[in-house]
Symmetry: C2
């Protein structure tokens, strides 16, 4: 069957839900990894019935179907690498807060920040806060098991999902879990779907767990001589069983970028430093108590610190963290952002390695991260027009991933695999583990139509053109 | 191949790890559901290598293999219903606390209470507390995603698992997740294993999440005129976003049982009542604040209440809750304990229904439960020697399950399906959902050797003899 007749059949069945406009095809050809593959159509089903029809058609004609939310994935997970159709779920954006039960009933296309705003308006709180939260959809968060800054205290997306509704790749409607606080019936396909990157089913709706909003917050920014000093303070803090809601670490390279952009150091007397940005939240008395431990520790170990309970002043303490990521583009027009995880015992070894890697590759390796849970973002900055820099970035990335696994770590803590990390799957998982995952994929998607070509097929992104011109809503260089 | 030659081959390969003693075969023939099926052998592998050999042999000769911990399952989940061999994991009981990382590395056979004791000795806390915690193993907790009293505040077993190590049914060694606080690589088979009742793999070791031990605790017992009054107070409390660490509800039938055993009412002036047992924990100031809300509410709505911060006095407040379960045997020598869940909007309707059911069946239906998460234990008491009572219990159970699903609830919140709840799977799940679960079972266990006959095969327990004589370590009638 030709693509043309496939499309004709799609249109006969789904009518207005089908678009082949240049704008839609371009927009849905890529995500933040900028690896474009043009689909043949973008489909926006409006009802469960239409969505089911779409899945049945895709199976019947063996057309690849790639589900998509906002497209803020960083791995190419929603690039339609095998062509076919893109399933755009952004219009499934209903949000209903059940203030009695402490639950949110949401559509897969609901934007994460809007969910949290709706919850907060009723005194409740949805903690997961990926950095794209103003744009990303809960469906995408579920697909990647998105994390964020509050992970170590509050957990990740998986920890806030009671129920998922949607369709199997073959079109059967299913619900996994239930809008209940406990559920132990049957196999747990709910959690299998979470983090499966749209390869095992399509989520239409979710029921989320909400918790009471923390009453008080205290923010502190502290400067350390170098990474080792900062990380040792972190170890002391965690061993004292302080549980910060946020504990962000910035290495000297990250701080330097932010300071250059700003034109002045964050701590006037310090030309360079490594930073910790810490937030405590909870009952005011509990915050006060932890604050004393933190302040005593920082007094002993930090070169300087500033703190506040005022939300506006806190925002000024956040400046380094908020600006460093975009400021890194001073050091190369292209960024690899590797969301690796290492155990607490290996924090210092990892940071030493980022400096070795800098020396070896001649590329900047600014690193920041959610240090209470060991989820560092190691960056490699390079110019994509410079073939030599590209080669060095490619080699550096491979070495970094090998080192991370050698340190007992994970190649991804919150972004997932998609296309970009597929070459590293064999570093993280044994052949037996990968084969088991593939058997599950085959069992649920026998025709292999749902988001094919991801995770298990090795994709070497360096061999593919990237679209550097495309502007995303979250680009703020 | 005869059973005898299968056994001979097993012995050649696993030697001393194999037992066919009468004692072992009897002990491993059943769990707390008392549905005995005698296995041909009990195997206690001492090493990973031996365990792998066992799985390879079982596949090669197509011998059913049923993994087992302490046997405190309440559903027949570890009864070797298809015969074959039982895999006894109780000797895999290592416990190592990593106080720096806040993790416990444990063997599948480690007893849950011993894990918590070891954690507490280092200032950490492992919250899941199934009522069998002095006896049950973490492997069994993982297999059923065991809950407990602290679920609504602290979550269930699934919420405290970082990594699982073990074997696929076909014998490949695997690790799902990692001893890390974040992990987003590949499909989430870790959580698929959790709650899969030993049907998708064998867990050998787990890495558990620990949290800081709460500093303060306040316990309160409050009496209400009836179930409706108690449940309305619960609704008010939860809508005020109070998050008790424990909130146990006891209906009048449960209270009456405990009072008859005790020979006196819990509140001298109240012949009968419904009870709420509430614990708050956390920072002392946070506890004080919530306490005020609780006390104001109970003052308005309860007929009486008593409270304490003293652990020894608290134990006296726990008397009704601790004794009611065994005291129910006054009303029948056999108990169905149904761990159902309903949404907060249906609490009162459920309790009205237990009274209807009592009238209809003529059997006692005492009900208590973890009311902050809607996980009620509805009991049906009957004499197993009385065929008429058995029939009424069977009919009553079916009706209860239908009602629970009609109310938007779950047929099990923490016990799982096993044999006893298998007839109700089609009430809870659609054919499409069950077929997807079965495809996953087939994908991971193509020869169907691991804990076969559970969950998906309808098992009518009323047609099978039960072993009422067997004494378990947790029997305290």
């Amino acid at each position: 069957m030709t693509k043309k007749s496939q499309l004709a059949r799609l249109r006969r069945n789904l009518g207005d839900a089908v678009s082949t406009s240049d704008e839609d095809l371009a927009r849905c050809s890529l995500d933040s990894a900028r690896l474009p593959f043009r689909p043949d159509a973008v489909v926006r089903p409006q009802t469960d019935d239409q969505l089911q029809k779409l899945l049945v058609l895709a199976n019947d004609m063996r057309v690849p179907l790639t589900p998509r939310g906002a497209g803020s994935a960083t791995t190419g997970a929603v690039s339609p690498v095998k062509g076919g159709w893109v399933l755009d779920m952004t219009s499934w954006d209903a949000i209903h807060i059940d203030a009695t039960a402490g639950m949110a009933h949401v559509g897969a296309g609901a934007v994460t920040k809007k969910i949290n705003d709706a919850a907060e308006a009723k005194g409740w709180f949805y903690p997961p806060d990926p950095s794209s939260l103003k744009y990303c959809t809960i469906g995408g968060n579920i697909a990647t098991n998105a994390g964020g800054l509050r992970g170590a205290k509050y957990g990740v997306t998986r920890d806030y999902i009671y129920a998922l509704e949607g369709f199997l790749p073959t079109g059967e409607p299913v619900r996994w879990g239930a809008p209940l606080k406990k559920f132990a019936s049957g196999f747990n396909l709910r959690d299998l779907w979470i983090g499966s990157e749209g390869m095992l089913g399509v989520v239409t709706r979710a029921t989320l767990k909400l918790i009471p909003k923390p009453q008080a917050r205290w923010t502190c920014l502290a400067a350390f001589q170098n990474e080792t000093q900062a990380l040792r303070a972190v170890k002391k803090l965690l061993a004292a069983r302080v549980v910060p809601s946020i504990l962000e670490f910035l290495d000297r390279q990250s701080v330097d970028c932010a300071q250059r952009r700003r034109g002045a150091p964050f701590f006037p007397k310090l030309k360079t430093c490594s930073l910790l940005l810490l937030e405590l939240d909870g009952h005011p008395a509990a915050v006060r108590e932890s604050k004393q431990i933190v302040q005593a520790l920082f007094k002993e170990r930090a070169l300087g610190s500033r703190n506040t309970t005022d939300p506006e002043k806190a925002e000024t303490l956040w400046e380094a963290r908020r600006t460093c990521s975009q400021a890194m583009f001073q050091m190369g027009d292209t960024k690899l952002n590797e969301d690796i995880v290492v155990p607490i015992q290996s924090y210092e070894a990892l940071l030493r390695y980022t400096l070795e890697l800098k020396k070896e590759t001649g590329l900047a390796t600014p690193t920041f991260g959610h240090v209470a849970d060991g989820n560092f973002h190691v960056h490699l900055m390079y110019d994509h027009g410079d073939p030599d820099q590209c080669t060095r970035a490619e080699v550096g990335l491979q070495k970094l991933m090998e080192k991370v696994v050698e340190l007992g770590g994970a190649i991804t803590g919150e972004h997932g695999i998609g296309l970009a990390k597929s070459p590293f799957m064999p570093l993280q998982h044994t052949k037996g583990e990968i084969a088991a995952m593939q058997r599950i994929k085959d069992a649920l998607d026998p025709n292999g139509i749902l988001n094919p070509g991801k995770m298990f097929d090795e994709f070497i992104m360096w061999r593919h053109p990237r679209d550097y011109a495309h502007t995303f809503p979250w680009d703020h260089r």
